[in-house]
Amino acid sequence: MLCQSCNERTATIHLTEISEGMRMESHLCEVCAQKQGLAIKSQIPLNELLSTLLAAQSEPHSSEAAPEAAADTSCPACGMTLKKFIQKSQLGCPHDYEAFGEPLQGVIQKAQNGHLRHCGKVPSKTPVDARDQIQLMNLRQQLEEAVRNEDYEKAAKLRDKMENLQ
């Protein structure tokens, strides 16, 4: 099916709208859909993500000099500022993850599909309780997935493992 707007490209977006009891169908290609302002999930480059973040912070509701203050947050260990990070998309040192707190958390959440906590390999040198915590997280996720896939045998095994750790 061709896009009904440009009649050139294949329609890949099929939209059904119901307003005031009327049903409207439109079939568009991606380019035309974007032109009409239909949101399409796309990969946002990190620097763009970062500048939107800063823009969001400088919205007036936070009053006074908050945006400038946020941009000027600097890490006591390496001197990196949030503003510089936004320009370079690279942090200055491991402490920045703590120093830039919430604004950075927002970026990470957006870039990492909503995730905020590591669940995966842990260095063997990590203290035992921290390692157990991460492993628990790990198992919990696997359990959820097993339940979603209706693999109850696997789920039972995972639950036993979790109980051993707790």
Binding site: A77, C78, I108, N113, H115, R117, Q141, E145
Partner: protein, 351 residues
């Protein structure tokens, strides 16, 4: 061992011998790591950058991989040597062109490579031919644990492995497959593949050439999310879901081409061979483009008398830096094009 010792043969990961290698050329896993107690590269002084390099080089050179790894001082290497390593995917272009003490530790089989002081202090990679991601993960996990016994990684119980760019934080893992998708391209379905990949949070880039343009229908598909999912989950998703889908689409497109448009396909393949066998000047872009058609032709059984090895070799050895390294020094573009054409003719002509 030096870059010039590598430039005469095809990288093992590109030799087409692995499982499913007609479509999935190779598998790669990369881990990004940083040393605790050191700033990331943007804030690291040259002196401390040299310290990081010394520590990591020492740890890497003592690894037992079944073959003796060697060290290349990237900072002291010539631009041509750097480019050969880039063309073989042993180091990144960014690593080649940045400044300060930085190096690479490479296994002679090229199945393992480590970049020191690239965007992160350490980036290790394991390559295997065909679809062998689980094997890649087993190997790199073991290597990573060995390194970790010797150095302290920057690790946070909440965020996981800390990286210079938050897009790598958590596992620091980048799982990739390099795929050859000429039939999807010819049947005009490549955009569908891009869209599907994007919707599944995957990154698609070209395999050859600079930037993101995919010359020769080779693509690199990688995960984007590194936090909140475990390494095994990411690998499993690739092996069980993503790669089978891509392979299936490409195989279907190949079948459609053979069954419904065999004249058109044969025409493309034979024209490509015609140009490659007779051109006197050929750019690397054009060569990649045409060789891709020939590779498809061989995989579809439409070309006789040319081995897939010969074509794979041409893909690798006709790249600009390889050509120059093997001819003994810098050449301008015209000379390169002439030399490339000659090399291709002698490989592909029957007599």
């Amino acid at each position: 061992m030096r870059a010039s010792d590598l430039s005469h043969h095809v990288s093992k990961w590109f030799d087409g011998s692995g499982p499913g290698a007609d479509i999935v050329i190779s598998s790669r896993i990369r881990l990004a790591r940083n040393l605790a107690g050191y700033e990331f590269l943007p804030c690291l002084t040259t002196r401390r950058q040299a310290e990081v390099m010394e520590k990591l080089t020492k740890a890497l050179l003592s690894l037992e991989l079944g073959e003796a790894v060697f060290f290349i001082d990237v900072d002291a290497s010539s631009a041509l040597e750097q480019d050969v390593l880039v063309e073989r995917h042993l180091i990144s272009r960014q690593h080649a062109r940045s400044k300060g003490p930085r190096g690479a530790v490479i296994a002679p089989s090229e199945s393992f490579t480590a970049m020191i002081n690239e965007e992160d202090h350490l980036r290790i990679q394991v390559f295997k031919t065909g679809l062998q991601l689980r094997e890649c993960w087993q190997q790199i996990d073991r290597i990573d644990s060995c390194i970790e016994e010797k150095v302290d990684y920057a690790f946070d119980p909440g965020y996981g492995y800390l990286t210079a760019c938050p897009t790598n934080v958590g596992t620091g893992i980048r799982v990739s497959v390099m795929v050859h998708l000429p039939a999807l391209k010819m049947t005009g379905q490549i955009d569908k593949f891009f869209n599907a990949a994007r919707d599944s949070d995957l990154m698609v880039r070209g395999l050859f050439g600079e930037g993101t343009e995919a010359v020769g229908d080779f693509f690199q598909v990688s995960n984007q999310v590194t936090l909140g999912v475990s390494e095994e989950q990411i690998v499993d998703e690739f092996v069980d879901l993503i790669v089978p889908k891509i392979t299936q689409y490409e195989a279907m497109a190949r079948e459609v081409l053979l069954n419904q448009q065999s004249d058109a396909v044969d025409d493309k393949i034979q024209r490509a061979l015609g140009v490659l066998r007779s051109a006197r000047l050929i750019s690397s872009q054009e060569a990649l483009f045409l060789l891709s058609h020939v590779r498809l032709g061989i995989n579809l059984g439409r070309v006789d008398g040319i081995s897939i090895d010969a074509v794979n070799e041409l893909f690798m050895l006709t790249q600009p830096a390889h050509l120059q390294m093997n001819s003994g020094g810098a050449l301008d573009a015209d000379h390169r094009d002439a030399m490339r054409a000659k090399m291709i003719r002698s490989k592909l002509c029957v007599n």
